[in-house]
């Protein structure tokens, strides 16, 4: 009865070089590193406290289990015993307070270190990126004072290694949250607010980020690839993204373009250099160059692209992309066209 029962179990083998597991325990930048320091400190304190408390509890509960059970309760315990017990409890409380204070100081120091990137970054001309959250994909823009140099892409954030990045984020529908665990921290995308987030990637690679604030049906499939690459490659990527789509050279792709421009697609999607100018869905000008489809849900392969276009509702039930029952020849042509948009 339910519409999503026949989903495709797609093979996942993201063929990107340097794909990292999405994990806070595998840091790739200064902020991720700082979190790791904080994590080990808190783990050490916690394990020590836990072991001590549990030992005290179990000894207290079990140390007299072989003695006969006293029938009469002790209504007024001996004052001397109570006093020494009181000293132990006071000491334990004092140790607790000291430990909490240590933790507080460590936390504040880490927090300041987090913001130091902002202070240092402002001086070093950070890469500025605007992210807009949509149900259920990420619109990513590299602003430029010259409008023709602006780059709009989707679900893939390219950043140069070793340079601070500042994200200016907002949302046009519901609240989302940007979270790249390996790079540290998360920040909400809130309609009506612009939030900023600073980070820096030190190791080149591909890091998966995911929406962390519940945002509706496809919250689970709202991911984003952060591609950290050497400065040169980043500049090359940016330059390539600034180009409009190359017109098709062969007849198959030309037919694909006609299918695209003649069908539903153009109402929602843009391809620079063609009349397609919809702003509802991701910009497809360079869709062929992206690692994934459907906001990090499917590896960008021919097969997945076909499945996604024809029946997006089986991969992402509730997604705002409608089904497109194209004839198979049209579909093949369309896929060839889109794949060629690099």
């Amino acid at each position: 009865m339910r519409a999503w029962r026949h989903g495709t179990a797609f093979p996942i083998a993201l063929v990107a070089v340097g794909q990292h597991a999405q994990s806070a325990l595998d840091p790739a930048g200064p902020q991720g590193d700082r979190f790791i320091g904080l994590w080990w400190l808190s783990l050490a304190i916690s394990v020590a406290v836990f072991v001590l408390v549990v030992i005290a509890l179990l000894v207290a509960a079990l140390r007299r289990r072989h003695e006969p059970v006293a029938v009469e309760p002790v209504v007024a315990p001996e004052p001397a015993g109570e006093r020494s017990l009181g000293r132990v409890v006071n000491a334990a409380v004092a140790v607790t307070v000291v430990l909490l204070f240590v933790w507080l100081v460590a936390s504040v120091r880490t927090g300041r270190a987090y913001t130091s990137l902002r202070a240092a970054g402002s001086a070093r001309a950070p890469v500025e990126v605007t992210i807009t959250g949509h149900q259920w994909w990420w619109e990513i823009e590299y602003p430029d004072t010259n409008p023709s140099l602006r780059v709009t892409t989707a679900n893939e954030l390219h950043v140069p290694v070793g340079r601070p990045v500042v994200l200016k984020m907002t949302s046009t529908d519901v609240i989302h949250s940007f979270w790249a665990p390996n790079l540290g921290g998360k920040r909400d995308l809130i309609p009506g607010h612009v939030t900023t987030m600073w980070f820096q990637a030190d190791t080149p690679g591909v890091y998966r980020a995911q929406c962390a604030e519940f945002c509706g049906y496809q919250h689970a499939h709202m991911a984003l690839m952060v591609v950290a690459e050497p400065a040169g490659r980043f500049r090359a990527w940016l330059a390539a993204q600034r180009q409009p789509a190359a017109p098709p050279t062969d007849s198959l792709r030309a037919r694909g373009e006609r299918v695209f421009l003649g069908a539903d697609c153009t109402l929602c999607h843009s391809i620079a250099g063609t009349p397609a100018g919809g702003r509802q869905g991701p910009d497809l000008t360079h869709v062929g160059s992206r690692l994934t489809l459907a906001a990090g849900t499917l590896p960008n392969t021919r097969r997945n692209l076909a499945g996604w276009i024809v029946d997006p509702q089986s991969t992402k039930p509730g997604s705002l992309m409608p089904q497109n029952p194209l004839g198979s020849e049209d579909l093949q042509a369309l896929i060839s066209y889109l794949e060629g948009l690099r």
Partner: protein, 182 residues
Amino acid sequence: MTAARARAVVAIGLGALAAATGCEREARPFRSTALTASAPGEVTVSVLQPGPRAPRPEMAEGPYDENAYAIADGKRLFDAYNCSGCHSQGGGGMGPPLMDSTWIYGSAPENIYATIMEGRPNGMPAWQGKIPSDQVWRLVSYVRSLAGLTRKDVRPGRNDDMQVKPAESSMPRQRAIPSTKP
């Protein structure tokens, strides 16, 4: 246990009440029920035709007059596809207003469907082949909500935008009055 039985009765009663009012309204029709190719088909300018009318396959999908999710989706599409460009949030501008009770080309769902799909004289473009038929049905039910032709409890509330008109759910129910004036 009379009390337990009484509680069961209360539960069943409440359930029946909700069932009567709720189920269809709250369904989430994510996928189109009858998938038809949206390749450009023949455009008919008039619904008048000789002989018995040929059934159109996509009629099976809609309308979604009883479904709050589909109507809200229609509202989103109304915005997304820039219907407001001419109909201005339903108040009318270059195109006729959609909030009033006057209907030039008919207020029945299939009339509105035909209006969107095939276009009308004096400016309404044909969206056949541009908007999938399932989405057109959603737009149809939204347009009917705008005009107060659907039940109040399935209509959308206000949007998170500047308000230019009361929410659809606050509009009174209206009766459609056919108009002969094009």
